[in-house]
């Protein structure tokens, strides 16, 4: 298992390098002089010169990249142009909000998705199944930011159960988690149902029936357990999508977090912050996918062998 994790982590090295190159190149690909995108407005020529020296903007691009990467690895992501704070400090402030939201949404999607999917599979071709499938269709196609706005309209503006925006209370987490969770639930629910219906047809299930096991025990102990593998696979593939959902939903609910910070900085063209946020989000997606793969490998020895 340890070798699997180590090998899987080694695979992350080229990916991280490629991602870091793309993110580094952003300020160089934007039209104009890169220094104008990282220097604070109203800086003196000395400060400009200091930054040019620090980032080595007069040196060849490869040297600049290595310098930048060295700074990033030592935790120096530059200084925000508009917010005038170290980018790393901004990220440290915002990261916990995003992690809480993304983590709770993932938990919600997994638990509710597996339960509703299993419910639909056990009661297949009844009104329960049709109801769940219709809900899944809507849950997976409605734009999440619109769903969030509708939730605000209904539960915050009309019923006044939860705050409209912000992150001051735990109650403010309910609507954002629900909004991201509905899309995730639809995905997990659909895969759980399909996987369970697939396992039902297997010979060993027929065997269990022949042995006289109760249908309930067969569904819960045998079919659902087998069906969980594709669910974990899809979750490990789609963890990034749930985190990506957090980016959108933070903005909708005006919550602090990496997503809100990224989108606001994009509008203000605050490139050091944009680079820092994109880097963190990319790392989060990679670690999330890694986590999904490890869980998958714990559950299925074949996955371990494939990579080892």
């Amino acid at each position: 298992m340890l070798t699997f994790i180590l090998k899987r982590m080694l695979l992350l090295v080229p990916v991280s390098l490629a991602v870091s190159i793309v993110i580094f190149m952003i300020v160089h690909l934007v039209p104009g002089d890169p220094i104008d995108h990282i220097v604070q407005i109203g800086s003196s020529p000395e400060q400009r010169a200091e930054l040019i020296a620090r980032y080595g903007l007069d040196k060849p691009i490869l040297v600049q990249y290595v310098t930048w990467l060295g700074n990033v690895l030592s935790g120096d992501l530059g200084t925000a142009i508009i917010l005038r704070q170290p980018v790393s400090a901004l990220i440290v402030q915002n990261m916990p909000h995003s992690l809480t939201l993304g983590g709770l949404a993932l938990l919600f999607s997994t638990v509710v998705g597996i339960s509703t999917g299993a419910l639909a599979a056990v009661f297949r071709d009844t009104w329960i199944d049709r109801g769940v499938m219709t809900a899944i269709l809507f849950g997976s196609t409605l734009p999440s930011f619109w769903l969030g706005l509708l939730m605000i309209l209904l539960f915050a503006v009309q019923l006044e159960w939860f705050p409209v925006s912000g992150a001051r209370t735990w109650g403010s987490l309910v609507l954002p988690v629900l909004t991201i969770g509905i899309g995730g639930t639809a995905l997990v629910g659909r895969v759980t149902r399909a996987a369970m219906l697939d396992v039902v047809r297997k010979d060993f299930v027929l065997m269990l029936h022949a042995k006289g096991l109760s249908p309930w025990a067969i569904q819960m102990h045998h079919i659902l357990r087998h069906a969980l593998l594709p669910v974990v696979t899809i979750l490990s593939l789609r963890i990034g999508w749930i985190l990506g959902g957090a980016v959108t939903i933070e903005f909708v609910f005006a919550r602090p977090g990496l997503g809100s910070l990224l989108i606001n900085s994009l509008s203000q063209r605050d490139y050091p912050v944009v680079q820092g946020c994109l880097l963190m989000l990319a790392i989060a997606v990679m670690l999330g996918t890694l986590l999904g793969d490890v869980v998958q490998a714990i559950m299925d020895p074949r996955v371990r062998e494939r990579i080892a």
């Binding site: 190149m25 196609t141 409605l142 734009p143 930011f145 509708l150 990506g244 903005f251 509008s267």
Partner: protein, 282 residues
Amino acid sequence: MAQPMHTLVRIVSTPRGAVSGAILLIVILCALLASWVAPYSYDIQNLPGANLEPSASHLLGTDEFGRDLLSRIIYGARTSLAVGFTSIGASVLVGLVLGGAAGYFGGAFDRSVTAIVDLTWSFPEILIALILIAIAGPGLHSTAIAISIAYLAQFTRLTRAQIIGLKNETYVEATIGLGASHGHVLFQHLLPNALTPVIVAGMLATGDAIILEATLGFFGLGAQPPTPSWGAMMSSGTAQIFIAPWIIIFPGVAIAGTVIAINLFGDAIIDALDIRGKLRES
């Protein structure tokens, strides 16, 4: 797709295909004929008539500048469909060529294409789109480019899988034996046979692309005012959420209706052509 007309008739004779097809047709007609269909102009402001609730003269009410919401939604169909179709169309074309060449020639070219595709595959489209918008700057053109690059991996992967499945068929060997060039084999024989699943996947992705365009518009990174875009309309509506909720509700209904119709119609095509398995191959 030997008999397209025949297939189309089969699709629209199912209830699902008929309803979703009709909705799509209405949205497409709205986009094409916006200047005739829309009751008002999309950009004439009338501040005394701002935030009016839906009534006989303004069926869906007015926005914070007193502009007719229905007219803006009809014009907005133009933005959504134009961005959705052109960006996915470009993405499908490039994906066909890249994935086709990678699958057909194999070797180092295939390995590098696959490496890049796998790299972008694990990242959510919205993140890829935001990286590209960071480079190209906000606006409708960069949105379209960002969307087409964000979805490129999907079509490249799908085409590559199709071509690998096809290239060892006897007829391909026979064509090469007769002295055909690689380009001829790839473009005349392999790609046409791989086309259907990729186009259907492209159609389904168009729905996602419309949502992505709306999301970027909602962030203020897509269409810039006064261009009517469903996402951007909702974004300005958030400030009026307490007094004029219709500004948020109706553009969302337009997006949801269009995207659900595209998905259902796409599903109907998949069933009519029986290609669900092929779409899973990638």
